[in-house]
């Protein structure tokens, strides 16, 4: 039996009261409830307050560069597809600096879970706009208010036919835990975009701002297999903000296409230099 305690307890560098704490709690619970032991799990992350999360629980960690949580995740997954791989990132990290990797890994569809701490602001660098910041939000850099159209990660993912698209809220750990569990269990690339209040720099999208607006989509109400409906739902933002699984599309994963993985993980393969001998004949 795996318990939450197996994932340890660490001191953090987060501001007291930050939404990140709840996300950490949900990640730990989800992993423990799925019976994943720390050595089977790899968390990769980029740089940002959110990307420090892997350091605050016990498991395999590759904490890389800003915007680059996904490429090492996919590399590691291919090297050892038996690992449960989660990429942990922020909205700046994933949709800004790492936007290209986001697009292309949705297309690749590796069996990886992507958790985005979406606080609609850059936290670690002290409060600049992020790709998801609200129009009009003023910061020390966006002195006239944000006027670039905010990126809608869910619509974008659905438009790319992402295999699993969901949204959680850091203020509802129980619901978020279930979402993360489903995302990990889903075979394919799964996005969990998490609304995460940054109490230090985002004075607009606060706990109460989100709490007043979020609601859970009931299963009966929303059919996650209907892509067009899912897209419609993803556009809902403002007075009411839906939470839950927007879109699910079961399809072969990136690893499924690779016959070389069928005989076992790459890392356990033994190589033999003599094998190139047969290739040398072709140059004679």
């Amino acid at each position: 039996m795996v318990s939450v305690e197996d994932y340890g307890e660490f001191e953090t560098e987060w501001c007291p009261g930050c939404g990140n704490f709840m996300i950490l709690k949900a990640v730990k619970r989800a992993l423990a409830e799925l019976g994943k032991s720390p050595d089977e799990v790899l968390l990769t992350s980029g740089i940002g307050q959110s990307s420090k999360l892997p350091h605050y629980l016990k498991c395999n960690v590759f904490n890389g560069l800003h915007g680059r949580s996904l490429p090492p995740a996919i590399g590691a997954k291919l090297a050892n597809h038996e690992l449960t791989v989660l990429a942990v990132t922020g909205d700046g990290d994933c949709y800004g600096e790492g936007g290209n990797h986001f697009l292309h890994n949705v297309r690749r569809n590796p069996n990886i879970t992507l958790i985005v701490h979406d606080n609609q602001i850059y936290g670690l660098t002290k409060g600049q706009a992020s790709p998801t910041s609200e129009l009009g939000m003023k910061t020390k850099v966006q002195t006239h208010g944000v006027f670039n159209t905010p990126l809608n990660p869910l619509s974008l993912a659905i438009s790319l036919d992402c295999s699993f698209v969901s949204r959680g809220f850091a203020g509802d750990v129980a619901h978020l835990t279930e979402l993360i569990k489903k995302a990990i269990q889903h075979k394919g690339f799964s996005l969990v975009d998490v609304l995460q209040p940054c109490i230090s720099f985002n004075k607009l999208n606060t706990f109460s701002w989100y709490s007043e607006r979020v609601y859970k989509m009931e299963e009966g109400d929303h059919d996650p297999n209907d892509r067009v409906k899912a897209f419609e739902k993803s556009l809902e933002w403002g007075e009411k903000i839906p939470l839950g699984i927007f879109y699910v599309n079961e399809k072969p994963t990136f690893e499924d296409h690779l016959d070389v993985l069928k005989s076992g993980t790459l890392v356990r393969n033994k190589s033999d230099p003599q094998k190139v001998d047969e290739l040398l004949d072709r140059f004679i």
């Binding site: 350091h55 960690v61 560069l65 490429p71 050892n80 790459l266 230099p273 094998k275």
Partner: protein, 578 residues
């Protein structure tokens, strides 16, 4: 050398000059000759003026002289551009296709019209066979045994079926017969066939690197295509299924090296292939490899820069960039093969060094080495050792707490991989403690930085000393690195035959430099002349700053072309070195 003949095929991209060139190169190799072939091509798929040049000799050769004996001209431009290089040679061309305006009477004797198009249509009913007519004609003017070409054509077109094979052979035979009968200076270029027909190979540098990676057990390759490195990616991809390799074309070079690091962290032998422009994008991840101590092999094939530069030409202009790329300081290793043999064995070695020291290792090639065809001895895979330097499950199980960055006297920590023996592995781009967790204290920073940098001392001992060619105590030492090996060897031969006191010192292990050996060999040299394919003498600077020795003269070239022995000698004369 009793035989030393240069054949050049010139034409537009898409005219099939490479097919002709490769067929001829294989033909001569089959009959026991040493062959060396280079290509000059422009960055376009059709049109432009390209050449494929091959040199045939009964002695080992690795450079292209500036004279041409037989030119197969497929377009007018070939004649205009190459006529200067012809001394007493012959230009094979099809007067029905190319109109020549030849005002110079002296040139009259050198043109030999072969109605390639007409012969192809008459014999095979299709003009596409005129290339084979051309190859046959080239052998005809040499009165060379035809059978070798027939065998080569059969191999080259095997996949396309018997009819195509037969037609190509028929066309070649017709071209051959035509030339033998009509070439007025009959058999002027006759070569005597070597008796020694051992099983040598004809191979390009890029294929040799691909083979080296497969021999070393590469398991993962992520790259973004960029000339002239793409050949390695393609070669590994073509054999990936048989060798259990995952090859992924990344969305960009940033992703490519980051993917490689993820795969390597998880325990796979991983590499990327790129050229300077792509490596610019990778330099951030290079630092990540450095601080996380994650092994990575980076194959970097140089072309002239900056930015997009000259995509299909050659230069050795990226050394200083590779030595200092990425912010901060961390150990790295730079290897620069000079021959296909080096490409094979040193690629395999690169993986072992990366794994042993847990650092990024570069294999620096260039377009000249990547695309040229060389004859060489068959590689011996039994000489390739695969050393992974990973902890066994048992060793790890016996460890109470696994520390990825444990401080050790050598700076090298034992490496475990995720998912092994119930332990966890933590790697971090931030400065970290022994466990891999963020630690910003000054004491920790000092320890960790020292730990990483210490590895260079040990690594230096693994670096092979430079290779000396020519008399030990020569007055002038020509120093080179990487692909200039062949041309410089020939320069030494030529200059010695002219009575000069000169030798060549060639570096394949470029960084960290094998200091002791280098100082011992070079310490007594009166005149050190560094010869490099760049504008600023990048290796010379490294050599001077590392060894304290003084480089007397730089011979440099950065026009996009490789060195010919003649051009080096000319430059030495201009500089008054000889």
């Amino acid at each position: 050398m009793s035989t030393d003949l240069v054949i050049k095929v010139g034409g537009a991209a898409g005219q099939g000059l490479q097919t002709i060139g490769v067929a001829l190169a294989k033909t001569f190799k089959k009959s026991g000759f040493n062959v060396f072939a280079t290509q000059f091509y422009l960055s376009r798929v059709r049109g432009g003026h390209n050449t494929f040049q091959l040199r045939v000799s009964d002695e080992p050769i690795r450079a292209m002289p500036e004279k041409v004996d037989i030119l197969i001209a497929l377009d007018e431009e070939s004649i205009e551009e190459q006529i200067e290089e012809m001394f007493d040679g012959v230009i094979i061309f099809d007067n029905d296709v190319i109109k020549i305006n030849n005002n110079n009477d002296n040139n009259n004797g050198i043109f030999f019209h072969v109605p390639m198009l007409k012969i192809a249509k008459d014999v095979c009913g299709n003009k596409i066979y005129s290339n084979s007519v051309a190859s046959g004609a080239a052998l005809g003017v040499m009165c060379f045994e035809f059978d070798y070409l027939a065998k080569v054509l059969a191999e080259v077109f095997k996949k396309k079926g018997d009819e195509i094979v037969d037609n190509n052979i028929k066309a070649a035979r017709a071209g051959y017969d035509y030339a033998k009968k009509n070439f007025s200076s009959g058999c002027k270029f006759t070569v005597s066939e070597p008796t020694d027909k051992d099983g040598r190979m004809l191979i390009a540098g890029n294929d040799a690197v691909g083979l080296g990676a497969l021999a070393a057990g590469v398991q993962f390759l992520a790259a973004y295509p960029m000339t002239p490195s793409t050949g390695v990616m393609t070669y590994v991809a073509a054999n990936a299924d048989d060798f259990n390799v995952v090859v992924e074309q990344a969305e960009d070079e940033i992703a490519a090296l980051n993917m490689v690091l993820g795969a390597s962290f998880a325990g796979a032998r991983a590499m990327t292939t790129t050229s300077g422009g792509g490596f610019c994008l990778m330099s951030e991840a290079l630092g990540l490899s450095g601080i996380t101590e994650t092994p990575a092999v980076i194959f970097l094939s140089q072309r002239p820069g900056p930015a997009t530069g000259l995509p299909t030409m050659t230069e050795q202009g990226d050394l200083q960039f590779v030595l200092t790329a990425a912010q901060g300081e961390f150990p790295r290793c730079v290897l620069a093969p000079g021959t296909p043999d080096d490409c094979f064995y040193m690629t395999a070695e690169a993986f072992n060094i990366a794994d042993k020291y847990q650092i990024p290792v570069f294999i620096m090639s260039d377009q000249y080495l990547a695309d040229s065809l060389f004859t060489c001895q068959r590689f011996d895979p039994s000489k390739v050792k695969v050393a992974r330097y990973l902890m066994s499950d048992e060793e790890l199980a016996d460890t109470d707490e696994y520390k990825r960055y444990e401080l050790t006297p050598t700076g090298i920590s034992l490496r475990a991989i995720p998912g092994q023996a119930g332990k966890v592995v933590v790697a971090d781009s931030d400065e970290h403690n022994e466990y891999g967790h963020i630690d910003q204290t000054i004491e920790n920073r000092i320890l960790m930085n020292e730990k990483r940098m210490k590895k260079l001392d040990l690594l230096r001992e693994d670096m092979e000393p430079p290779h000396q060619y020519g008399p030990k105590d020569a007055r002038i030492t020509l120093v080179g690195w990487g692909s200039t090996y062949g041309p410089l060897m020939e320069v030494v031969n030529i200059l010695i035959s002219e009575g000069h006191s000169v030798n060549h010192l060639h570096f394949t292990h470029v960084f960290p430099l094998p200091l002791e050996a280098t100082k011992n060999i070079l310490g007594n040299s009166e005149t050190i002349v560094c010869v490099e394919n760049n504008a600023t003498g990048q290796f010379a600077k490294l050599l001077e700053s590392e060894t304290g020795l003084h480089v007397s003269e730089n011979v440099l070239r950065s026009d996009g072309k490789p060195y010919s022995p003649e051009s080096i000698i000319r430059s030495m004369r201009e500089k008054g070195v000889i």
